[in-house]
Symmetry: D2
Subunit: 143 residues, 4 copies
């Protein structure tokens, strides 16, 4: 049986304070848009930051890769799509695609990898049980 | 006997990501520069955020007034001067003056007022004892 | 005849990156939310930044006053209402009110005053004609 | 003859507004620290944003890869080291290493790749002459 594809899209209006001196979105702000998507994903699929925290864990960023395809400007509406990438073990991997709403132009692709740590910040090498359960419930158990 | 004037100055280099599309510092970023100064003040005079927190209190912002005098641009070096304004009761008031280092031009004046609350967020109407003591030690007890 | 009341409300979802170490919205971020509202106002009533710019002017911030009423936290949905305050001359004044959607709690009130300058940054003491016209069209000419 | 190694280090004090709700530096802020280093590099070696701009070009971000090694917290002083990585053609590649000053702990490694475009945003596939010259002057011409 194929794994389910878990995905969510958020709509982001570029803020005036988010463009730089050539009126293009400052490259660091995409990290914020990606987090917007990640939080919307969490709300949709029950993987909110607070749920992770209350299960006794943190999910700090471990690796982040961004590829910029085209520049976006002030007043652009961006569609940020996040997709869960099934992976074994104690890792949380997401792929992102950001497109401009008006012309569907591809603005950015990215991938983030988060690890699980205890609240005290100790790396947790085995998959936390709450996450194992979440994978099972959502039919995204990687083999 | 005159009250002591408690003051501190920090040097801030404007970041590229802090200027807007006309290459001027985005007006909201001065709030960050003011906080830089407030933290340097805390380190200098023993009124750090952590000291307040460990004494059982928070000092959330209650009122903030900014008056913009001139625009600053990327690569400007700004000197942010913060001065404690003696006040009675459970209030923490600071005055700020931001000048450009190169020509001493006045960029901004501001005043912030913080109140004390318990860690649970309850307003504390009487002056916390740690703060009373801090005022006495620093000779800034307003009459 | 009474002046028209020009107002707009935007809905802002607090971002994880916008809360501080006590999980409350960092006080400087309200400046961003206010700008969100100002831009929505501009789009609704034809007073966008670009319209001002193409008319030959800038409208830099001159004065900003914020009064914090209650703290907002991550995942709060905020309703930011902006209202144009009729004023004579070369000034653009807005009042703001931020409420939490879930319980209508008042989070912040604020007022901003912008002045008009030429694109070169020279203060423009008389009211720009495009703005005079805008006031007339929107029935907000202060007497 | 070996290429010269062009490098610069900047000292960054973590701001209170830059830590998240677990008092750790929010992962997106490292992008800002990296830009701080890139600008200091530009000032040191004559490759400022303005120099690029006045030569008729922009250098937008094309690819960014960050690897988080350890979390940093409020009041940490970070040392951000940037090193130019010699590359052929119309690319500007930098490697970064961020360490905590107090214990030299490695916090983050990263690499950024910028491309050159005309001011109108058209990709420039051949190496701009000002950049060719800069490489020659600094003895970093990749073969």
């Amino acid at each position: 049986m194929a794994l389910q594809s878990l995905t969510e899209t958020v709509r982001v209006q570029v803020r005036f304070s988010e463009v730089d001196s050539i009126r293009m979105v400052w490259h660091g702000n995409y990290v914020t848009y990606m987090e917007d998507a990640r939080e919307a994903f969490g709300r949709k699929f029950g993987l909110e930051y607070m749920h992770i925290f209350e299960s006794g864990y943190l999910a700090p960023m471990f690796d982040m890769q961004l590829r910029y395809k085209q520049m976006a400007t002030v007043d652009d509406i961006l569609l940020v799509t996040i997709t869960y990438r099934p992976a074994r073990g104690s890792k949380l991997i997401f792929d992102y695609e950001i497109r401009r709403e008006s012309d569907n132009a591809l603005i950015l692709t990215a991938t983030t990898t988060q690890l699980f740590t205890t609240r005290a910040g100790e790396f947790e090498p085995s998959c936390p049980s709450f996450f194992e359960e979440w994978k099972r419930e959502n039919n995204v158990l990687a083999i």
